[in-house]
Symmetry: C3
Subunit: 353 residues, 3 copies
């Protein structure tokens, strides 16, 4: 479905991936597509034996697939990890077109900002006083760096990103459009008259290497100290990370989830979509929080939890199944009570008889 | 409450709406307002007989109302659909003030971009190389079109909208401020070292005619192929549409809802606010998903579901009513057990006696 | 953890706060930090006696603390409200650096806009025709004011804020990056062909004094009339406020919550994170809505509710505790039925025996 700018030989791709090519190495890859929509010029992939039927029916011209699966006579690349190799193939076949290095006309860069000559600052981007942009980094139109912000090497900041003062990015950070880092945390103290007085938010946000953050996600600065997103963490769209949180290395936070203040996700923890956490909690290493779960206490390392309030995965599934049977159970309980001559002590007038 | 720039005769409005005027056709409409706050110069409306009392008490000078309702001596327009006719009346009485056609000073338009002479590009908007803006379309300040983006005719793109590369809009599309189309989908493959490696997102976003998308909503590009929003779909604020989703014609997605990857909403399906869906599901034609529901499986066409995990509407209401009675039911169950000389096999020490 | 630009004597700070200094008034405050991370040059604070142990172990050089708590020999400031006084101390010790007054080069200000000479309009900000910016207000880069927008005195509008036409801000309003005020409400009427036709949204948004609104939050204009955020209300990130809502004085709406149309929060009401409300409801004065609650009916003044659908706090806690015990209760109910020779009328084949 997605065309390749200049077709490439399958054998050359296999060599780049460090894999063996099977069949016609001269197959010219004209595009990349999933099995269902691939055509005769396309490279596709089958993740596992579960996709054997889809592979049989696919019109894909070539395929990346695991050992033991029938390629159906197509030229193929065998891989122990077809998903990963297909991703790498697409990276090679459909490369992005990064803007040219340099500061475009229409960019607003403060005189004392330091922009590496290999960085790219697009028209309409704003780089504040004393800010620093490292080699190879790209600021798309309308990115705003407040004074003193630091951006490392090979970062990609998409249009509309705002980094408030004190924000520091490592290397190879990707920020999708509209990301806001360093907005004030939500903190107030009650004054003598019972009104809320703003607690100054003078900390910052630090984002380490290889982090990616999704569109319109917000990460608040710390009240004091740092809100920190550690190396390799991946955060999806419209996520809220409150002041003083720590997101662990390789942790994953899926769309529309939210963390209250000072919550810690340890390394490799996963929060599925639309989940949330009360503040000052710890989600342990490689713990898994199911979609739409609401955390009110810590999650031990490795544990899987679901629900609001959270329960261990198995308990939650049992509780939900039981809940669906509850109306019937209440009816049965009444039958038991009648049989025993017992009456509910507080009969509900609205209860069906 | 909202003033009309130049007052208009009620009879003239009625004629425009294709309706009959009743009473004084010379009534000069000075403003539009709901019944509760309307004054003697205002036009208001009553949707149905349910609003008879509100209409009696209203100070509105004129009214659009259904047959059979007493206008209270006011000049009136009878309508089979007062809501629709009032909406159309407001459109005529309080027209928007679209910016002037042409490219404003301070707009940053690439040399090879194609902007129709009747389109309006505001100061601070950025139009990338090879982008195309059709006749009558309006880009407010700080809209960013990445290279190659296509915008059809009579579209309204509000301030801060970002359309990443490959995005295509049909005609009469309305994007509220801060909408992001074409951010990367959230896709990673595990590499040999157990780290997450980005799966390139090389698909695009296609938005068909008459779609409206709310403020700060995000729609991700497809991994491969398209994420597609079909004709007439309406999407509210802060919604997340993941990669490869399809939103059907005239479908409705209310605020803060989220769809995981490859989910399909069929024609006319409705997702109420703060609902969510797991990936690769289908919500059938004209299905209705209640507010805050969490979908974990398909919803058949026309079905109404609520809850997390979802249940048919009636079952969910019964389950929620039963849940409220559950603490009492547990107490009654213990009374039954005592009467029978049965003991709970695993008594809970914390259980109230 | 956060350094003070120029160290300050503790006694001078105490005097500014209207408190007494205890011990060495010449202590030079070099930074501010929480107890856990404070060093010998830092000022910290202990909220109450609950922090006695943390205070003992802290390396903080000076502390603000309540009467009766042992300062451990440190110089100290006694306070009846240590949180508030520490917040005020930080405000004095770590002042923000507001941009210089005046209109920066690269700002796009309409000729007939009225900008007070003491206001600050940054590079890349856009001020539309007839807009008004009051004394001391600050527009960061890429703020967009549509024509006719009014901003009062001493407001702080962070980068990327969009105020659509008709929006009016009072004084001392703070808008974090990416806030959108005045986007169209989500309103449609069904036309003769069964399609959704846009209901024009011709009302506005009014924000009163001392309101703060968090990053990427959206507040929709009224259909007719006003959406109003009253004095002192505090709204967190990624919140959705629909058309015609009223947020009461000093009300609090925590992150990712959403209010449907025409909902009223009365004075001092609190909505915790990720909660939501159906439309046309009233949340009474000082009512408290727990995190992730979903409101389907009014909340009386002062009441505390949780859950979806909402229940009074105590009832909800009981219901959730009961739900966790439900699977066991169903097993016990079956044991009772067996003992009585009763069979469930509709036994579930999937039910564990």
């Amino acid at each position: 479905m997605t065309r390749v700018a200049s077709p490439r030989r399958l054998a050359d791709l296999a060599r780049d991936l460090g894999r063996e090519c099977e069949g016609d190495g001269d197959f010219a890859i004209g595009g990349v597509a999933p099995l269902a929509s691939a055509g005769a010029e396309d490279l596709s992939f089958a993740r596992s034996a579960q996709f054997a039927a889809a592979l049989r029916e696919s019109k894909a011209g070539a395929v990346i697939l695991p050992e033991g699966l029938d390629a159906g006579g197509r030229p193929a690349i065998r891989s122990p990890n077809p998903s990963l190799d297909f991703a790498r193939a697409v990276t090679r076949l459909v490369p992005g077109a990064p803007p040219a290095a340099g500061i475009a006309a229409g960019a607003l860069v403060a005189e004392d900002a330091q922009v590496h000559p290999t960085a790219s600052i697009a028209a309409g981007a704003v780089v504040g006083a004393g800010a620093h942009v490292g080699p190879g980094s790209c600021l798309h139109p309308r990115v705003v760096l407040y004074p003193g912000v630091q951006v490392g090497a090979d970062c990609m900041l998409h249009a509309g990103v705002v980094l408030r003062e004190g924000t520091r990015l490592g290397d190879r950070v990707i920020l999708q459009p509209g990301v806001v880092l360093g907005g004030d945390g939500f903190g107030y103290a009650m004054d003598e008259a019972g009104r809320l007085e703003k607690v100054p938010q003078v900390g910052c946000v630090v984002v380490e290497d290889e982090v990616e953050i999704g569109a319109n996600t917000t990460v608040d600065r710390a009240t004091l100290g740092e809100t920190r997103i550690r190396r390799g963490a991946k955060i999806d769209n419209l996520v809220q990370i409150a002041h003083n949180c720590e997101i662990g290395e390789d942790a994953v936070v899926v769309a529309q989830s939210g963390l209250s203040g000072s919550t810690i996700l340890e390394r490799g923890a996963v929060l599925m979509a639309q989940s949330g956490s009360a503040g000052h909690l710890t989600v342990g290493e490689r713990a898994f929080v199911g979609a739409r779960a609401g955390l009110h206490k810590d999650v031990p390392a490795g544990q899987r939890v679901w629900g609001t309030p959270q329960q261990p995965e198995h308990a939650w599934h049992r509780a939900m199944a039981a809940l669906a049977r509850l109306p019937d159970a209440l009816r049965r309980l009444r039958a038991v009570e009648r049989k025993l001559g017992l009456r509910p002590q507080r009969p509900k007038p609205s209860e069906p008889s």
